[in-house]
Amino acid sequence: MRAIKANLLLDAKGLSCPMPIVKTKKAMKDLEAGQVMEVQATDKGSKADIQAWANSSGHQYLGTLEEGDALKHYLRKASEEDTVERNHPVTATNDELESNLDKDIVVLDVRESAEYAFNHIPDAVSIPLGELEERMNELNKEDKIYVVCRTGSRSDLAAQKLAENGFLNVLNVLPGMSNWTGKTTKLDG
């Protein structure tokens, strides 16, 4: 799997329970909402525990990669995005996107690369919201672009930004990956 970007790397290798979680919890404080942390650990039990801890503390557990004896866990810090007001006027539901997947459209996934890596719609293009400004030229202004994120907030900002820059046919997909029931894939080795 290609390198997954993380805002913070925590090395908990060689530490045994409870230290990987103790350190993760502490490091989470230094992260901004919506940022991604990579936790490297060798304690096999950390996989189940970090998932359970993330669930109970409201953070997003994205997935774990195994590389030899080392585990790389990816977490995204809880954000308030669910409550953000949405402004882009043109929207599509998950179902509408799903029924159009075989058409001539572009699916743009603006979540962090770590979120995309573990679960995304097949053939979706990955440009995290934070990189959209500089990578917009990778997209075609005439294409019909369905913008997707986890809950529809980041994709709303991305859709507005694209529209401001002359993209003609941009739809914000609601709610997005959090309720996606169609096909997905993940990056593999």
Partner: protein, 375 residues
């Protein structure tokens, strides 16, 4: 207040004596739901350790002051942390040494009976996982039956008893735990016996166990007579020791019977299982003491910690031996079975010698209850 260390052996004694114990299990909820320390007078509280990183104030009032308190986690580390926090708050608590890992690997040797000319038979109760192994001693020699992978414990015991291990036997190809049989045979030079019909795919040398084989232990010759009793596996074999004991493997337990589905052949083997239990076992003496390879519930332990009962008692009390109608029987043992044991396919392959996982992986594979039975 003090933080004390409690060993798996001490916890076992408390359970056998039916003493009261309050367990604060700090593993995550799935792990606790799946498998925990069981006992008649145990009260539980399950709060994952990561919920307690900021303090134990919230659970303090849920912990009784009049009972022994044991904090338990997977490997020990988190339970020490939580025990220290509780101790700092003024409670007298213990943690389980080695955590559930040690619990899963603890074997408690219990004597089941005497054999002729000073011979003895011991049961090794793997209390955390419900596995039962046996050692038969006679005149300086020993046979080990259905050994678990904790081979040191058997070897230490044999050393203490000043016997040399001459024969190692498995009643069948196990699917719920990794057999220590082959390793014991390698370490001691003993012969390793496996039922031929279960061993078609094994990658190592073994002695083929067939119906009617007699294995002799010691000069006075305690006889272990093999009785082909298919049903849990196609090769499943029971052993009759000195016309006194029936080692029933995973065919017949105290309060349940073996399940026929762990090699994916439930439909094919259910007939064999019925034949074994309702015909072959019926022909045996009712005075035989049944010594199974597993127990499922703590209620199956006798007051002294042994798991043993006379065959004719089981013919009256064990529900699995009292299903008159063959269609009902078929239904009960093939439908609504409990979940299959953790990693049972990999465990079977390990026992066939096809794969050789590292010790840590073997430990992971065996996590959880054994689930070899249908009630």
């Amino acid at each position: 207040m003090a933080v004390n260390r409690m060993t798996a052996h001490e916890v076992t004694q408390k359970i056998i004596d039916k003493r009261e114990l309050f367990i604060l299990d700090v593993r995550n909820e799935d792990a606790f739901e799946d498998w925990k320390i069981e006992g008649e007078n145990i009260e539980y509280l399950n709060i994952p350790y990561f919920e307690l990183l900021d303090g134990v104030d919230e659970i303090f009032e849920k912990i009784p002051s009049n009972k022994d308190i044991l904090v338990v986690c997977a490997k020990e580390g988190s339970s020490v942390m939580v025990a220290e926090m509780l101790s700092g708050a003024g409670l007298n608590v213990s943690y389980l040494q080695g955590g559930m890992k040690a619990w899963s690997e603890h074997l408690e040797p219990v004597k089941v009976g005497d054999l002729k000319d000073g011979g003895e038979i011991y049961q090794f109760v793997r209390i955390g996982k419900g596995c039962l192994s046996y050692m038969i001693l006679s005149d300086g020699e020993a046979a080990i039956i259905d050994a678990t992978r904790m081979t040191d414990i058997f070897l230490d015991f044999a050393r203490k008893k000043a016997v040399s291990v001459t024969n190692v036997l498995d009643t069948h190809l196990h699917a719920d735990h990794i057999s220590g049989g082959r390793k014991l045979a390698e370490l001691t030079g003993a012969s390793y016996w496996l039922p031929a019909k279960d061993a078609v795919e094994v990658t190592f040398q073994y002695n083929a166990l067939e119906d009617g084989n007699v294995v002799k232990i010691g000069k006075t010759a305690i006889e272990i007579q093999a009785l082909h009793s298919p049903g849990h596996t196609i090769g499943s074999t029971s052993f009759v020791v000195e016309e006194k004991f029936l080692l029933s493997g995973d065919i017949l337990f105290i309060d349940s019977i073996g399940r026929p589905d762990l090699a994916g052949k439930a439909e094919d083997w259910v007939g064999d299982l019925r034949e074994t239990l309702y015909s072959r076992y019926k022909e045996l003496s009712g005075d035989l003491v049944v010594l199974p390879a597993h127990f499922m519930r703590m209620e199956e332990l006798n007051d002294d910690g042994r798991v043993a009962e006379k065959l004719d008692v089981l013919f009256t009390k064990n529900h699995g031996l009292n299903i008159e109608d063959e269609t009902d029987f078929r239904k009960i043992v093939t439908e609504n079975l409990p979940p299959q044991p953790n990693a049972y396919q990999e465990i079977r392959e390990t026992n066939m010698g096809k794969i050789t996982p590292k010790e840590e992986e073997q430990r992971e594979m065996e996590i959880g209850p054994n689930r070899c039975a249908v009630r």
